[in-house]
Amino acid sequence: MYVMELAHIHTEIGDKQLLEDISFSVEEGSITALVGHNGAGKSTLMRTILNELEPTKGTIHLYGKEMKDDLLGYKRNIAYLPEEPMLLMELTVMQHFQLYAISYKLDNTIFEEKLERLLEGFEIADKLHEYPESLSKGMRQKVQTICALLPDTPLLMIDEPFMGLDIYAMAYLEKLISEKAAEGTAILLTSHQLERVKDLADSFILLQQGRIQQAGPIDQFETIQRRTGDAT
C-alpha cells in the first residue's frame, strides 16, 4: 500500500525552477534513497514534502488524502530527521524527547520503553539532563536522531542520517532503520554514503537539476552509477 504519492510536483522560487515534474510514491515498509549531486534538489524535495516550501504545481497525498486538506493530520504522520540538528539550546536532552512525545501524542509507557532502548543503543543515557550546548556535535546528532525515531509515524524522512555519527552509532542506526521498515514504516532518506545506502535501501531516486533522472530498485543503481560516472 502506498503511504505517500507525489504527482507532478513543481517547486519554484521566482523564475527559478527548483523541482520539475517530480512524481513517485513510497510504499509501506520500503526504504527509498534520494541520491544526487550537491544542489540536485534532494533537500528542496524534503522541504517540499515537509510543506516548508509550497509546490507551485502538483499534489502530495498521504494515504490517499491530499496534504492541503488536512495539514495537521499530515504533519502528525511524518517524522523528520534533519541534516543539521535543530535542537533548542534552552531545553535539556530529556525535555527534547518530551517535546517530541507530546507533539506526536505518544503513550507514556511506550515512550519510556522506546526511550530506554534508544538511550542505551546510542549510549547517551548519562546526558539526559544536559543542554545541547554542552554536547559534542556527534552527541547532538544522536539526540536529534532519537527524537525522530521516537514517534511511530507511517513515514520517516531522514536527511543525511549518518552525518556526524561514529561507526557504532551508524551501525546501530542502520539496524533501527531496517527494524522500522520491517514494522511497516516507509522511509525516505538522502545520503552521500552510498555504500551504506546500497545495503540499506530497496529503491532509489536519482535527482539531477531538480528532475528525476532515474528511479528503480537499488540493485539497478550500481549499473547506472557505472554508466554515468559518480552519480552522487
Partner: protein, 457 residues
C-alpha cells in the same frame, strides 16, 4: 591613513559589494522591468500629489514653532534615553559582526576599531535623519531649519548613548529591566514634577554613566554574542530571505535560562512544556516583544496629557494593534526552529500563548484604569469592562484566524471578524457618547457565548 581605518573601510567596501550582489540577484527574481517602470511612475505621481497637498498643511509649521512645543521638546529629552535602553534588550547599538571581531584578533586596537565603527555608523544615521527631515519638510512645508534642532538632539543622544547601550546589551536581563525602570522613573518626572527637571536628570545621569563606563569600554566584552547579533543584522536581508524562502537563524541560547537548576527537571505535564516554549521564544525575541509592548504602553501613558477624546482614540488603536502584534508573534513562533517541523497541537499552543498575552493586557490596562479613575463617571466600570472584554475577544478571534491560516483552512470568521473590527471604534466614541459602553457590553457577552460554541482547531 590609520591602519585600523584602512582595514575597517576595506571590510565595509567588500561587505557592500556582497550585499549589492545579493540584492541584485533577489530583485532580478522578483522585479519585472515593465511593472517596475509603471510602479515608479505611480510612485512619482503620488509623491507629486502629496507635495501639492502639502500646501494645505502649513499651519503645522506654526504649531511646530509655537511656544507650546518647548514642553514637548523637553519631554523628548527625558523620553529618548528609554529608546536606547529598550534597544539594548536586542542590540548593542552598533553593528559589530564576526568580521569586525576578526579584526580585533589581528594587531589592531580595539578602542580605535570601536570608535571608527561607531562614528561611521552614526554618520550614516545622521544622513538618514537629514533625508527624513527633507521629506517631511517637502510634504508638510516646514522649513528644514526647524527640524535641525531635533536632528541635533537625536545625534547627540546617538553618540551619548553609544557606550551605555553597548555595555547594557551584554548585561543580564534583570540589569536591563532595572535601567528601564530608572529611565521610566526619570521620564515619569516630566509628568509628575516638571519636564525641565526630568530632562536635566536624564542628561546628568547619561553623563555620569559615560564617565564611569568609558575606561571600561575595551574590557570584558562578550564579542561572540555581539558578533552573532551583528551578523544577524547584516545578513538577515528581508528581501533576499523572502525570495530564497530561507531564514537567517539566531541560534544562540538564551543564557539566563541555562543557569537555572530548576529548569533541568523533565516537564511534569504538557502545560509546562508549552509554557517553556513560549518563554524561550519571548526571551529570545525580548527586544521585539518589549518594543511592541512599550510602544503601546507609552502611548497609553503619554496621550493622557492630551484631550480625552484623543485618549479614547488611543485605546481604540491599542485594541486594534495588540491582537495584531500578538498574532504575528504567534505565527512566527509556529514557523520558527524545531517547532516548525513538529505536528502542532494548536489549541494548546494557543492556550499557553493566551496566558502570556493576558498578562500583558493586564499591564496595559493599568494606565487606562488610571485615566478613567482620574476622569471618573458612572460609566467608567462599564467602559473598563467593555475595553477588557473587547480586547480578549479580538485576541481569541485573531488567534483562531491565524491558526486556520497556519493549517491552510479556508474557513473565514466573516461577520464575526467585521464585528470584532467595529467594536474598538465604540471606545473612540466614549467621550461623546459614554452610554455606548453599557449598550455594548451585552453584545460582547453574546459574541463570547457564540464563540464558545464554535469548534476550534
Amino acid at each position: 591613513m590609520i591602519p585600523e581605518l584602512r582595514a575597517y573601510t576595506f571590510l565595509l567596501r567588500n561587505r557592500l559589494h556582497k550585499k549589492i550582489k545579493l540584492y541584485k540577484m533577489a530583485f532580478d527574481v522578483i522585479i519585472d522591468k515593465t511593472s517596475a517602470f509603471y510602479l515608479s511612475l505611480l510612485f512619482a505621481y503620488l509623491m507629486y500629489a502629496l507635495y501639492k497637498e502639502g500646501g494645505e498643511l502649513t499651519h503645522i509649521e506654526q504649531d511646530f514653532n509655537s511656544s507650546g512645543m518647548w514642553q514637548i521638546n523637553l519631554l523628548l529629552f527625558s523620553i529618548l534615553p528609554i529608546r536606547y535602553v529598550l534597544s539594548s534588550f536586542g542590540s548593542p547599538g552598533l553593528i559589530f559582526s564576526s568580521a569586525e571581531y576578526q579584526l580585533t584578533l589581528l594587531p589592531f586596537r580595539f578602542s580605535r576599531l570601536w570608535s571608527m565603527a561607531m562614528l561611521i555608523q552614526r554618520f550614516k544615521q545622521l544622513l538618514s535623519y537629514i533625508l527624513i527631515a527633507m521629506i517631511v519638510s517637502l510634504f508638510i512645508k516646514i522649513s528644514l531649519i526647524s527640524t535641525l534642532p531635533y536632528i541635533g538632539v537625536l545625534l547627540i543622544y546617538d553618540l551619548a548613548m553609544a557606550i551605555p547601550q553597548w555595555k547594557l546589551f551584554q548585561k543580564h536581563l534583570l540589569v536591563k529591566l532595572f535601567w528601564l525602570a530608572v529611565g521610566l522613573c526619570i521620564a515619569g518626572m516630566a509628568l509628575f514634577v516638571s519636564p525641565l527637571v526630568s530632562s536635566i536628570a536624564a542628561v546628568v545621569s547619561i553623563l555620569i554613566v559615560n564617565i564611569i563606563l568609558l575606561p571600561k569600554l575595551s574590557s570584558n566584552n562578550q564579542l561572540g554574542r555581539i558578533a552573532a547579533n551583528g551578523d544577524y543584522k547584516i545578513w538577515n536581508m528581508i528581501v533576499v530571505g523572502a525570495v530564497t524562502k530561507t531564514k537567517f537563524r539566531k541560534n544562540r541560547p538564551y543564557k539566563p535560562l541555562l543557569n537555572q537548576k530548576k529548569k533541568l527537571h523533565p516537564f511534569k505535564n504538557d502545560g509546562q512544556l508549552y509554557s517553556r516554549l513560549w518563554q524561550i521564544y519571548f526571551l529570545k525575541n525580548n527586544d521585539l516583544v518589549l518594543r511592541a509592548g512599550m510602544a503601546i504602553f507609552s502611548m497609553l501613558i503619554l496621550l493622557q496629557l492630551l484631550p480625552g477624546w484623543i485618549y479614547y482614540l488611543s485605546i481604540t488603536v491599542a485594541l486594534f494593534a495588540t491582537p495584531v502584534i500578538a498574532v504575528s508573534f504567534f505565527k512566527d513562533r509556529m514557523k520558527s526552529d524545531i517547532v516548525a517541523t513538529l505536528p502542532w497541537d494548536l489549541y494548546k499552543y494557543r492556550q499557553s500563548f493566551t496566558y502570556w498575552v493576558h498578562l500583558t493586557g493586564v499591564v496595559l490596562m493599568i494606565p487606562i484604569i488610571f485615566f478613567t479613575v482620574m476622569n471618573w463617571s458612572p460609566w467608567v466600570p462599564f467602559q473598563l469592562l467593555f475595553i477588557g472584554m473587547t480586547g480578549v475577544y479580538r485576541l481569541r478571534l485573531k488567534l483562531e484566524e491565524a491558526s486556520q491560516a497556519l493549517v491552510k483552512d479556508d474557513k473565514k470568521t466573516g461577520l464575526e471578524g467585521t464585528i470584532s473590527s467595529i467594536l474598538p471604534v465604540g471606545v473612540a466614541l466614549f467621550s461623546l457618547y459614554p452610554w455606548i459602553s453599557i449598550v455594548s457590553v451585552p453584545g460582547v457577552i453574546f459574541l463570547w457565548i457564540q464563540r464558545r460554541n464554535v469548534k476550534s482547531i
